[in-house]
Subunit: 425 residues, 2 copies
């Protein structure tokens, strides 16, 4: 499979936006590393809290590992109200799935869920079966100009915008101009706003490898230039805001209006399954309900996802949400107290410990696993080459002693494997 790509038509050695063959051939050695095999595609069974029974076989015979990979930041994925919601919905309809586009027909519970989420998020909420599909549907509509007064925008992507957004750049570019700017480069964005009458900015609220967008500054550009914002807040949802409106939505105190769309996840912090779009105005809602491709040509979330989300809505409207948010803040603080990362001090539960060498990062992750901690080793093409790292997601459900011990073992294994103390220079 180690192959050099030879173009057959003389003109397409690599794309303007994408070079899949290059990404594959360059990353292959890391994936092929023997230690990597143990870290990928693991099957497990969730037991209690953040502990998982590792591998196959009966749970009681499997090693217990503490998981810092899953993004259930508030620990809701095991919550009995959410699990019961999923089961109740299936039992009520004696069916899991409505096998047609929801533009035509769907279960009444889905309408109920969208209504409740619209109240919680103070927006017009559309539910999708995943965040990736919500984004897929939005990109061509953004490019069409129908969201920006009929004028085609220049669509500007943050260089770190999630792949579920960035992978559609060629689709957007087929209809309008696409630009990519350096991560969080507000000055570059302002230049583009000055030079072009209609600009859309596509970014994440909270970035999956840590960090976040400067929403306040983006709102200033919006006020000054009419900038349209499309913010994927998959990782920011539920963990911020009185009712869990999320990192992005909670920084728009009023209605979203006609120049902002926020995408988010119903998995991750929310603890259920699926994705949402938060829209500000009726015209946008009509457009998406008619023309978003997954809305029209794919399926709605299945009933279990709808029921689980209805269960999570109850938690989002109770005092328990705030309690879990505060516990999460304590977990983050605890981690930061022991290990300094680029994200130290922010209130987002994702920390990436930069290692650099891919081989070292993989070896460290494997050593952590052998000590009972599952972390996420990440490298090219997700990160740049020689910029590999270990991502840790802390949650409200991690025990104090587990976070402390994880940090100790991380520092110890970095020193052992790289021969240098952390932070590595």
């Amino acid at each position: 499979m180690q192959q050099q790509i030879a173009p057959t038509d003389g003109g397409h050695l690599s794309g303007q936006f994408r070079n899949t063959a290059h990404a594959i051939s360059e990353s292959r050695p890391y994936f092929d590393a023997p230690q990597m095999v143990d870290l990928m595609a693991v099957h497990g069974q969730s037991t209690t809290g953040r502990t998982i029974a590792w591998g196959n076989g009966p749970p009681e015979s499997r090693p217990q590992v503490i998981d810092f990979v899953r993004c259930s930041y508030l620990g809701l994925d095991n919550h009995p109200v959410i699990v019961a919601g999923a089961i109740d919905a299936i039992e009520a309809h004696r069916s899991l799935h409505c096998s047609c586009a929801r533009t035509r027909l769907n279960f009444d519970l889905l309408g109920e869920l969208e209504q409740i989420l619209s109240e919680i998020f103070c927006a017009r909420v559309l539910v999708f079966s995943s965040g990736m599909l919500a984004n897929l549907g939005a990109m061509p509509i953004l490019a069409s100009g129908q969201l920006t007064g009929g004028r085609k925008p220049v669509v500007v992507f943050d260089q770190f915008a999630h792949i579920s957004l960035a992978c559609h750049k060629p689709v957007v570019a087929d209809e309008t101009r696409v630009e990519t700017i350096v991560h969080n480069d507000i000055d570059a964005l302002e230049c583009l706003c000055r030079e072009n009458p209609v600009v859309v900015y596509v970014c994440d609220g909270v970035y999956s490898m840590g960090g976040y967008s400067p929403i306040k500054e983006l709102r200033q550009l919006q006020e000054r230039y009419g900038l349209f914002l499309y913010i994927d807040d998959a990782h920011g949802i539920s963990i911020f805001g009185r009712q869990g409106e999320g990192f992005a939505r909670s920084q728009f105190p009023e209605a979203l209006g006609d120049r902002t769309i926020i995408a988010a996840s119903l998995a991750k912090g929310f603890g259920a399954s699926g994705g949402v779009l938060m829209l500000g105005v009726a015209d946008h809602e009509v457009l998406f309900r008619r023309y978003s491709l997954p809305y029209t040509f794919s399926v709605a979330p299945n009933l279990a996802a709808v029921g689980a989300a209805l269960g999570s809505c109850k938690i989002h409207r109770s005092a328990e949400l705030g309690q879990r948010q505060r516990r999460l803040a304590q977990s983050i603080h605890l981690f930061d107290h022991r290990i300094a990362t680029a994200e130290q001090g922010n209130s987002v539960p994702i920390r990436t410990i930069t290692i650099g060498s891919e081989a070292n990062a993989i070896a460290i992750a494997k050593a952590l696993l052998d000590r009972g901690f599952y972390t996420l080793v990440t490298f090219f093409p997700t990160l740049g080459q020689e910029r590999a790292g270990i991502r840790v997601c802390v949650t409200a459900e991690h025990e104090v002693r587990d976070i402390e011990r994880l940090c100790d073992v991380i520092l110890q294994k970095i020193a052992e494997i790289t021969g240098k103390p952390y932070p590595l220079r």
Copy 2:
């Protein structure tokens, strides 16, 4: 919202592949038709068989409508074994969803499902949370040349290939040459095979508006020129083949090999929720498990979907499958006996009654609904302008008298509304 699109950058009035603004402005009047309002975005509750309780409110107070829209061709979506499978899986894990990429960690039941599906379909099966996501992940890998010996292919789309494939043409075109040929034009495809060393053909097995691909002829081109086939058999799965391998897979008597990939749905005929890819060789499996974007950066099907699919596997391996397939064949025959469509006589359960005028098609669908039959009215941009139609999906669960009465009412309403007898010329 009725807006003329004015380009703001002087160069992008419409795309090479897509003109979303045009599709929106041209189709708006049909969606806006008062009668259309009643036909779209309906909430209902499945009761027994193919009957649904229409609208909101308690089921017993709602009108009963016989549904010919959903694609549960074998009537499995209500099957107690499938419903129980979904609930059992959630109860076993006390969780619905594993909130991380399955390249890292997932429930053991998912591995079990892929193993059983691999046996049933005689292929290496990867499960996705929807067919649309399975296709999204495959297109860049196809374009990269990594599936075709490291040589970039010309990627040829059938003009009617499902939108979940066609929407990625700009993504493929960013990496290699894209061609679109007339529906099922084997001669045109053979020309391209002669002129180019590596060709991939992207098509549906069974088309969502009726009809199918000539698999035998495609296999001949494969043998003669090494043509690579990517076939989306979402609508063909389960309804053909001894174990429900589907329309496409059942026409490859041996192993799939290294030049064929079949995508399919775990909803529709299969009766559960999600999508699959059937791969032929280990190298392809490694590629998809590492680089398919939804596999790496989105979520696996939730546990309810996995459990439901495991339930459906039991039915696929029992005599019940053949019984339901035969009952479906009878339903199709019954319909064809009363109404001649372009699809008359084929064994696919989708029939499109061509009306032509969008306004007439909408009026006919509304009249059918008023008589207790829900059918799917379809028009631009799904079909060409002035080529609107009524799609009917018959299933193994429809009663003889319901299909007969549906046909009678269709013929009656066409005559009343168009003033002409069917077929319309």
